[in-house]
């Protein structure tokens, strides 16, 4: 548009000059010839001259105004960009236009740059959103409870285990102060988080107790303070349930303590009697023989104890090698009966074996099953006073596909509150301790062998003063082998 206006100006100037020249030439010529037709020509020339002049002036004014406008825009653009303003107005139309053009080009470049940055920012925002979603997915899939608070101790993020543990609804309680949400129920936990935020420590650890499903659980709680420079952005707490681990650790400690005690007991006798012999405190040969006998029996007791402990440990840890094959329970029982009868005869106890059964084959490791039978029989004889009886019965239930062995004695019996514990490791019925001594592992070994290795079941019934029945059930060989195929 500027160029077309420029052309118009030049056309107008040319017309004006031509009109002026024509008027100048036509004037003298007009006075020499007739006046009729020469006056209109002069008038025309003069008119054209006047129009041309007015046109030039008009266009000149328009141009000037245009230049001023362009210059003003250019100045405004520069002032916005902070570019130095020109001291003087650029002279002439050309400079103003060039200045404006340059500014517009700069503006365009800036817009392009900003658009590019905006696009980058959009991409980053999408990536950031995706990362946030991944982080949240990780958080929500954790079994440990995770709680995230902002710098005002308000809940911003938590997973389902945390909501269950602390008793809140994440959507309803988001952005509420944690103290308001669960300060009353879990004051110690809330205080721990607040202290960590104040102390700005990166990671502190504490064991806290929470009530979960009517049980007390112990949680290993780690709290980290999130900082940016000097500013605390919030805290993150991770709670790991260590209740079961502590129970197992306590059980292990108890087991070791028990084992140590049980091993030291026969050792104490061996040490004491050895010292007495060495110091010559056994006056006569009979006393010395008695001492030798005690040392020997206690050494054997120690050996049995060690074997039992090892067997129990191997079975529990699944390291016990087994050699299962079809075996008749009646035959296994008969094989052990001859050994037990000689022990029973010393106490004048009658031992009655089972009636033979047509088919009572079980799929079992013979050595282990023999150990089970020996343990049950020797316990029955041990805890039966002289003159009593021990009876072994077997039975087969085709319907359930199981064979059963029951050993009944007329012994001292077990108190009702202790019956459920008799198969526990190292458990010995207190009142019966005088009757006989044992490792406290015999019945536990029976339970491990029957239940863990042979998928059977042990059982016991008892009445104090009347006697006890200990027994076990095993799947019949044909049933077990059919299931295996």
């Amino acid at each position: 548009m500027l160029r077309s206006q420029e052309s118009l100006v030049w056309v107008a100037v040319t017309v004006a000059l031509v009109a002026l020249c024509a008027a100048a030439l036509a004037g003298p010529y007009h006075s020499g010839i007739g006046a009729g037709w020469r006056n209109p020509l002069a008038a025309l020339c003069l008119s054209m001259y006047a129009v041309g002049a007015v046109g030039v002036i008009f266009l000149g004014v328009c141009h000037h105004r245009l230049v001023r406008a362009i210059t003003s825009i250019a100045r405004q653009l520069r002032s916005k960009h902070g570019a130095p303003l020109q001291e003087k107005k650029p002279w002439g139309r050309g400079n103003a236009v060039r200045t404006l053009q340059a500014d517009l080009e700069d503006r365009e470049a800036l817009v392009e740059r900003l658009e590019s940055e905006l696009s980058d920012l959009r991409i980053r925002a999408r990536l950031s959103e995706r990362q946030k979603q991944h982080t949240e997915a990780i958080l929500y899939s954790l079994r440990d409870a995770v709680v995230v608070l902002d710098d005002h101790n308000r809940l911003t993020m938590a997973n389902a285990p945390a909501a269950r543990l602390l008793g809140f609804d994440l959507e309803a309680d988001r952005y509420r102060p944690l103290n308001d949400i669960c300060g009353e129920r879990h004051g110690e936990f809330v205080q721990f988080l607040q202290q960590s935020a104040q102390s700005r420590v990166e990671g502190t650890r504490r064991e806290l107790t929470f009530s979960l499903e009517e049980d007390l659980h112990t949680f290993d709680t780690i709290v980290s303070c999130v900082q940016e420079g000097q500013a605390v952005l919030g805290v993150v707490a991770v709670l790991h349930d260590v209740t079961r681990e502590k129970e197992i650790s306590q059980m292990k400690n108890d087991f070791i303590s028990h084992v140590s005690h049980e091993l030291k007991t026969p050792l104490a006798s061996i040490t004491a009697y050895s010292e007495m012999l060495v110091d010559g405190e056994a006056d006569d040969e009979d006393t010395r023989k008695e001492f030798y006998g005690i040392i020997q029996s206690q050494a054997q007791r120690l050996n049995r104890l060690i074997e039992d402990i090892l067997n129990v440990s191997r079975i529990e840890s699944g390291l016990m090698k087994t050699a299962k094959e079809p075996a008749s329970l009646t035959i296994l029982i008969e094989q052990q009966m001859s050994m037990i009868r000689s022990y029973a005869e010393e106490k004048n106890i009658t031992v009655t074996g089972p009636a033979p059964i047509v088919y009572d084959q079980v799929y079992a490791d013979r050595d282990m099953m023999s150990q089970v039978i020996v343990n049950l029989l020797s316990n029955a004889v041990k805890y039966t006073p002289a003159g009593g009886s021990v009876t072994v019965r077997t039975a087969v239930d085709e319907t359930t596909g199981r064979a059963q062995v029951a050993v009944t004695d007329t012994g001292v019996g077990i108190p009702e509150d202790e019956v459920e514990h008799v198969f526990d490791k190292f458990y010995r019925v207190g009142a019966n301790n005088k009757q006989a001594k044992g490792t406290g592992l015999g019945l536990n070994l029976v339970k491990q062998i029957v239940e863990k290795i042979h998928t059977g079941r042990v059982f016991v019934t008892s009445r104090v003063g009347a006697g006890s029945t200990f027994g076990f059930e095993l799947p019949l060989a044909k049933v077990e082998m059919a299931e295996a195929t």
């Binding site: 303590s257 140590s260 005690h261 030291k264 007991t265 050792l267 104490a268 006798s269 061996i270 040490t271 004491a272 009697y273 010292e275 007495m276 110091d279 405190e281 006393t287 005690i294 206690q298 010995r428 207190g430 009142a431 301790n433 005088k434 001594k437």
Partner: protein
């Protein structure tokens, strides 16, 4: 002069037997019990000069026995020696709180037990003289 009487409580008969032989060979009178409850009744009856008790016993443990002895005016001052097969079963603070004069770990030496009892009785004599 009447011999000092020692009450020995342990659920292991072999331990009672060897301690009794050692102490009797050295001029002590010995009475024995197989559990804490029996030991308490015997202590009230026999008024021993020292009670030697195992830590782990059926019916009533050694600690429960000591607590009961301390609660009874007639037996609260009797010195007690604790035998235990459990390492670190009783801390120094617990021993002081219960008034346990000495704690010996199993396996123990009968000689060492004898010396411990002799030291306790000697301390008692000195205390009486002053």
């Amino acid at each position: 002069m009447t011999a000092n009487k020692i009450l020995v409580a342990d659920d292991e008969i072999h331990i009672i037997h060897v301690v009794a032989i050692k102490l009797r060979n050295n001029g002590y009178d010995v009475v024995s019990a197989n559990n804490g409850a029996e030991a308490y009744e015997l202590a009230c009856e026999e008024k021993p000069d020292i009670v030697v008790t195992d830590y782990q016993m059926p019916v009533m443990t050694g600690i429960e026995l000591i607590e009961k002895l301390r609660a009874n005016e007639e037996t609260r001052h009797v010195p007690v020696v604790l035998l235990t097969a459990r390492s670190f079963a009783v801390t120094q603070e617990q021993q002081e709180a219960l008034g346990v004069s000495a704690c010996l770990s199993k396996p123990f030496s009968p000689k060492e037990l004898l010396k411990t009892l002799q030291d306790i009785l000697h301390q008692q004599e000195l205390a009486l003289q002053h």
